[in-house]
Amino acid sequence: MTTQQEEHTLSHYLCIGCPMGCRLEVEADDGEIVEVRGFSCQRGENYAKQEFVEPRRMVTTTVKINHSLWARIPVKTVDAIPKERVQDLCDALHRIQLEAPVEMGDVILEDALGTGINVVASRSMPRTAEMAKT
């Protein structure tokens, strides 16, 4: 059996909790958090831990929509998804085309990229009378 050397890491984050913008540091051995430093409140400590373990982000983008008041309709994930999937999700949503009308909250993409999280319309979009004629 070979003895693996412990990997000692220091990760740095800028806290987003409030305008103080504390500079957070997470010290870890082999991916296990040893200590969190630099925070001024509980929110800061929790944020640093979450960012270290698995950063997640809400995604908002737009989808093409036909016969509608506007050319694009805004959509959002109902919950945060892993940060590294954000661009893939936006690319997948670019391949979708919708037809007006759409109601706010309608599911646009179910179980996005297998994350278990739905993408929904973040507004209602009426079908325009004149545009529908053409």
């Binding site: 984050y13 800028l14 806290c15 987003i16 409030c18 305008p19 103080m20 913008g21 982000r57 809400m58 908002t60 983008t61 737009t62 093409k64 008041l69 506007w70 050319a71 694009r72 805004p74 959002k76 940060k83 954000v86 661009q87 936006c90 706010m104 973040s122 507004r123 209602s124």
Partner: protein
């Protein structure tokens, strides 16, 4: 009722609201609540909702709705309430003038001019973005230089990409949000440049819009030249000294076809000026009493047209109050006038409202001139409050209660933000 046809409107209204963004919608609802029967919102766009409609990112409503919403969701909740309350909304329509007798001149592309009467008016026209002219950027005048909010409208509503390689000047929140937005749409964002030594936007946006996508933020740096005949081809940037003078010996070039400007907002007060309403040179908005009434009887103001807010939630709160007061005005229930004038003192850029009354509770909004660590917010010698930090980018709001003022008999009250060790 929502209409683009001016012939569908009534001849007389109790309250006419100019601008159907978050401020106008909240004001219209407020006016209904306090007894205005016929309320009309006039908006120049093809739907009410204002700039919220293009702000597709989350972060709205945490204070007002106690949940995190995107801009369009926040707008839609209000729009539904407006229609349910029986408020009329005229779209694709401008307000050209409001005369001495409160006759309102409307203009629409399809119906021309129409005159209607109102008892009170609420001005909620919002703000527009500062453009290239405001900072006198040198160089050529090619296509590809636009404000961040306009680019946001192109991308999020109209489905146009402004270019392929972009640079953003100014670190305001809209600029930061557009840096992420363009990146997700496949545009190469080469950097954000800020002339000040500190970023203007929220940390949240610096982390989630720039750090997440490895977009560099260059502080104390600005654009010194723009090149390109028909289309922008190249910009030159240089670091600035403490007097904002660029050091051209350290300049460098960046290839890009798009420059977005996120360099501040100007309250849109053309109509206010036309009505000869008194303006505050600092806020560039109207001078208001605690009812949010201007120097012109029966004309009220709210939202970014009065002073620039950082959160739409504050706009909603201020505007609902404004609308309630407009409703009280038209039903002859207006409370008596104010007796105390607020005077911005140390490290206070401005206070809104400009006057208050000692027998009612008021929310006073103010902005600091300089960032400060722990400090004391002081209201004359009648009240003080500790603040953990102050930054110009974050509006401070203070509830001023009658009990603070029960032993105060002066006419002016100075508002100061002082460092802790100085007090």
């Amino acid at each position: 009722m929502l209409t683009a046809n001016l012939q569908h409107l009534d001849k007389d209204y109790d309250v006419v609201v100019v601008g159907g963004g978050p401020a106008g919608m909240a004001a219209a609802l407020g006016a209904k609540e306090t007894g205005a029967e016929k309320v009309l919102i006039v908006d120049r766009e093809k739907e009410a909702g204002g700039i919220l409609l293009q702000c597709i990112h989350p972060g709205f409503g945490l204070q007002h709705f106690r949940e995190e919403l995107t801009g369009p969701e926040y707008a839609e909740r209000y729009k539904q309430q407006v229609l349910d309350a029986g408020i009329h909304v005229a779209t694709d329509t401008y307000v050209l003038d409001i005369d001495q007798d409160k006759q309102v001149k409307l203009l629409s592309g399809t119906d021309g001019v129409r005159l209607i009467n109102t008892k009170a008016a609420v001005l909620s026209m919002g703000a527009r973005e500062r453009t290239r002219g405001a900072i006198r950027t040198p160089g050529h005048r090619p296509a590809g230089i636009l404000t961040a909010g306009l680019a946001q409208k192109f991308v999020n509503l109209m489905g146009y990409l402004p270019g392929n390689k972009a640079v953003i000047l100014g670190s305001g929140d809209i600029g930061l949000i557009m840096a992420r937005r363009l990146t997700l749409e496949g545009v190469e964002v080469k950097g954000v440049f800020e002339i000040m030594p500190h970023a203007n936007g929220l940390n949240r946006n610096i982390v989630q819009c720039l750090h997440d996508y490895d977009i560099p933020l260059h502080l104390s740096t600005t654009v010194v030249d723009l090149q390109g005949r028909d289309r922008l081809e190249k910009i030159t940037v240089a670091p600035v000294d403490s007097h904002f003078q660029p050091d051209l010996s350290k300049s460098w070039d960046i290839d890009c076809d798009t420059l977005l400007l996120s360099i501040g907002l100007i309250p849109e007060n053309e109509l206010t000026r036309r009505l000869k309403i008194r303006l505050d040179p600092v806020t560039q908005g109207a001078v208001v009493n605690s009812q949010m009434e201007t120097s012109k009887d029966g004309v009220f103001v709210c939202g970014n047209v009065v002073h620039i807010h950082d959160l739409v939630d504050f706009v909603s709160a201020e505007s609902e109050l404004t609308g309630r007061n407009a409703g009280l005005y038209v039903t002859d229930q207006q409370p008596p006038g104010d007796n105390i004038r607020l005077v911005p003192g140390e490290n206070v850029r401005y206070c809104v409202p400009h006057t208050i009354s000692s027998d009612r509770t008021h929310t006073v909004y103010m902005r600091a001139s300089q960032p400060m660590e722990e400090s004391i917010l002081r209201l004359g010698d009648v009240y003080e409050k500790k603040l953990r930090y102050v930054v110009p980018a974050e509006m401070i709001n203070l509830k001023v209660r009658p009990r603070f003022l029960q032993n105060f008999h002066g006419e002016t009250l100075k508002v100061d933000i002082l460092p802790v060790d100085n007090t």
